[in-house]
Symmetry: D2
Subunit: 297 residues, 4 copies
């Protein structure tokens, strides 16, 4: 199968279950909302080493937010309910409550369960906290130095999808890099997903386990390393390729992740020099989801 002359391999992305929250951060200005959203979702590429997987989903204009102010939807994810509870509390408490003029709303549909994040944060008010209602939501009003911080009382979470992915194989390094940038920008228009890695792309695909050092659970995927291939080491990268980048996607469900993969792949295939779209899997026995590339189109 080809799109715009680019081969779409007959393979699948193997993705995993993860607990997902989805919050709307509003502020007095669009810029202030983005500043808070960015701080709250940093250090959040993969739960392999980060305390959460987190990222910015989309911008919401003032006319569509509960408080009429500009906002950004963010997602914070973790496989463990306990860790997710902690991350939500600290990322909101330390990175959004501390940012000027912000408010936080729960915008996850169809939650499995709820976390009492807002309820816990209200005690910071030391007795001066209050309650109000916005758009039918119970909000805690916490007085802070610069004004009042408003936070919804509870935040839902649900079983979502982590690790949706595809590889961009290109004839040069920067043809591949630009295609990855284009894919990430295209995915940004799909609601309900994030690309949690830096700039949305992963420069370092890994394999399970490690052959040389038994103290490591994961290590570089040497058969997909472009510089090893160029040194003549046995490789799974096609002969004419000199650039390989991976896009990783987390989403509220498999449909959202599939829509993101489709949008990203179609956009990547507009960049000259992209040769092939591949995907990462582990034989199909590890992850709960298999998303076949060719079935997306």
């Amino acid at each position: 199968m080809e799109i715009n002359g680019v081969e779409i391999k007959d393979t699948y992305a193997e993705a995993f279950g993860i607990k997902v929250t989805r919050l709307l951060v509003t502020a007095a200005t669009k810029k202030l909302a983005l500043v808070a959203a960015t701080e709250a979702t940093g250090y959040g590429t993969s739960v392999i080493g980060c305390p959460a997987e987190a990222g910015v989903d989309c911008y919401v204009p003032p006319s569509e937010t509960p408080d009429g102010r500009p906002g950004y939807v963010i997602m914070i994810c973790n496989g463990s309910k306990k860790k997710l509870d902690h991350e939500l509390l600290e990322r909101i408490g330390m990175c959004i409550l501390t940012a000027p003029t912000t408010a936080v709303f729960n915008v996850l549909d169809d939650a499995d369960e709820e976390l009492k994040t807002g309820f816990k944060l209200k005690f910071f008010g030391d007795g001066y906290e209050d309650e109000t209602e916005i758009d039918g939501r119970k909000m805690h009003v916490i007085p802070i130095m610069s004004g009042d911080f408003l936070v919804e009382s509870t935040f839902g979470y649900k079983e979502g999808v982590a690790g949706g992915n595809f590889f961009i194989i290109a004839d040069s390094k920067m043809n591949g890099l630009v295609a990855a940038e284009v894919a990430v920008d295209a995915i940004a228009s799909v609601p309900g997903v994030i690309t949690p890695f830096p700039g949305g792309m992963v420069a370092s695909g890994s394999k399970v386990g490690c052959n040389s050092y038994d103290f490591l659970d994961a290590s570089t995927n040497e058969k997909m390393c472009i510089s090893l291939k160029e040194q003549g080491i046995e490789s799974d990268i096609r002969e004419d390729a000199h650039g390989v980048f991976e896009i990783v996607i987390d989403g509220v469900d498999a449909d959202a992740v599939s829509a993101a993969m489709k949008a990203g792949i179609e956009a990547a295939c507009t960049v000259p020099g992209v040769l092939e779209i591949d995907a990462g899997n582990f034989g199909g026995n590890l992850g709960a989801h298999k998303i076949n590339l060719q079935d997306l189109f």
Copy 2:
């Protein structure tokens, strides 16, 4: 004392010791370097609730970096050597190694001790890792999907300063907010410091302890809350003020933090409506550093 008609109060900022690292992240492009630097320093406002205090110090043009590529200096800080070691490893390994085309160099002068972060990261190479020298530095070369990731073998840390601060008291909320933005931008030109909170400013000053709930170690500083003052609750905010913002600064030493406070205060005082510059302290018994506001000028 007055600057441009703004009262500089006769008080001091009480600051604390913290272990500080200072890294240079380079990449193929300025934008890619910033993307990695931003991801690696997110979720890093205060060690009260974040796993580190972290931020971007400054941009370094290609002509001044060891590898001739554009870069950003970042700082990652923690009071505990063990936690700092962990944070450095994970923030570099998960947020910079995973970003396309990056390299990381140690740029802290006068280190007290060293962390073997690069040495530890090299095992990700699963036996394919190599070594090289750049600018007299020992670098590990780790093959990853998109090319090679280069990281210096060791990173120094030293006892620096956390919690340098000043308050901007203004006659309106946004006069204060804009002054805070201006101060943060001015501080960005001072080397050796970061403003770790979102957008560099703190909207929520806190006090030690909590009067209403004994399970909290810190809570809102009700005497500096603008909305409580406007409700008639006893306040330390002057009568004519309607906007209060705090700037918090971490730095490699007290001189750097003092220079940042000076630059930030002078810049804030150019904004119309700023009434007074104050500072936060805890009676002088908690922190290792007292930085007197009036002595800065």
Copy 3:
């Protein structure tokens, strides 16, 4: 009439007819499209002194553009057909053709007439130019150093609306400025309009004619100058106001301009310290359009 406690004055914006074009600029990446769009719409605040009124309307994701690449819609406007023809030719030829990887499509609905801009630009190809069709559009393919520049053969224009406007009257300078920023960001989500002034806002409202110097056709509107009011000079600004900013909007028709005014005013009214929304007019005899503020809601 009040919105969120802000008085909406019972007055109208007086707007004018202007010839409007609407183009889609696509490129390999979102960033490259924005760079070209920004260059092509600079030096375009008002035809009083600029060769055109121009600005960025909105972003269009890859899935919705004719060539599947990211793009920005821009508008270029002038009262004279001849001048508009010249501006389109030079702004596309000098600022978009010269930018890497771009293409330009006509996206104006219901054009009154057409300009042969693409047809004229093709001769730059010196005989090597070609033709193709994208999405049913006739495109000229002009070989340039970095690849091929594609431009639609003709661009429509129609009689649109210039000078839709409102004033934000606030209790402090920066409360007003932030409200103006918020209004501009909100207007950005309304299709078919631009806010051509720097950052979308006008710091310098003018009046027709000049009392002191007969060689000037326009001069500062002294009755709306905040610093003159504070010096005690007779003013139309209310006593408690210390910040005044104007938003000016051009659009494809009166409905688009009205929708933009509505979105901008509602967003501005979420900012604390905004006192009043006013509008600029010249007695109603100069402009073809009167847009009443209170009728918007």
Copy 4:
């Protein structure tokens, strides 16, 4: 000659004389200064079709500006004194005076002559204008809606250099594009120069005259067009190259342009896949300046 394995051709850039102004635009915030600077320098790639060549030179932190506020230096250039006078007046009057909180200072050293731009603009004040002195400079104070606009009375110009240039020849399109981006970012750290084309780079090199159409003075340089080469048409591009981009530089003098070319070339040569650096000239008889590539190093 080679840099980092990239061939530096034994050729020269042929550059031209142009009249150059250099202005500092300050504002309440860094962002507002950049907004005004960007608007005032748009539609300014080449005097072949634009009314001026213009761009942003560099950022100046508050501690180094005459009014203690953040600022950006911009350059506006034209070969004709009369046109330069007009452009300065309109670009300042329409794009900076209209932007909130701005002031404009003359920062050209060693001017040949002066333009009375500030003096002319002051009449917009309709008799309410005033004068003041900042840092020994005579400033006009013009009351506008949002406050006072301050502009230096006169602006110097001098005979500078236009059209300093180099070509980046790369093995793929995006390797070349990324190298061009890197070069432009590196040049941004060199004072006294601008890269006036969109994003600093030129996608469309031209030749003098036109073979097929006698009504054109300039046309595409078919021997440097990558897509024509790939179609088998006779080309000056080397066989293994698939990406060609030009950087064009204007500066206050030949030394500044040379420093910019050096910084840009060195940075471009760090990007993998760059094969060769070339330069554009017209046989040496048209331009006043010849800058030899190899002499830069």
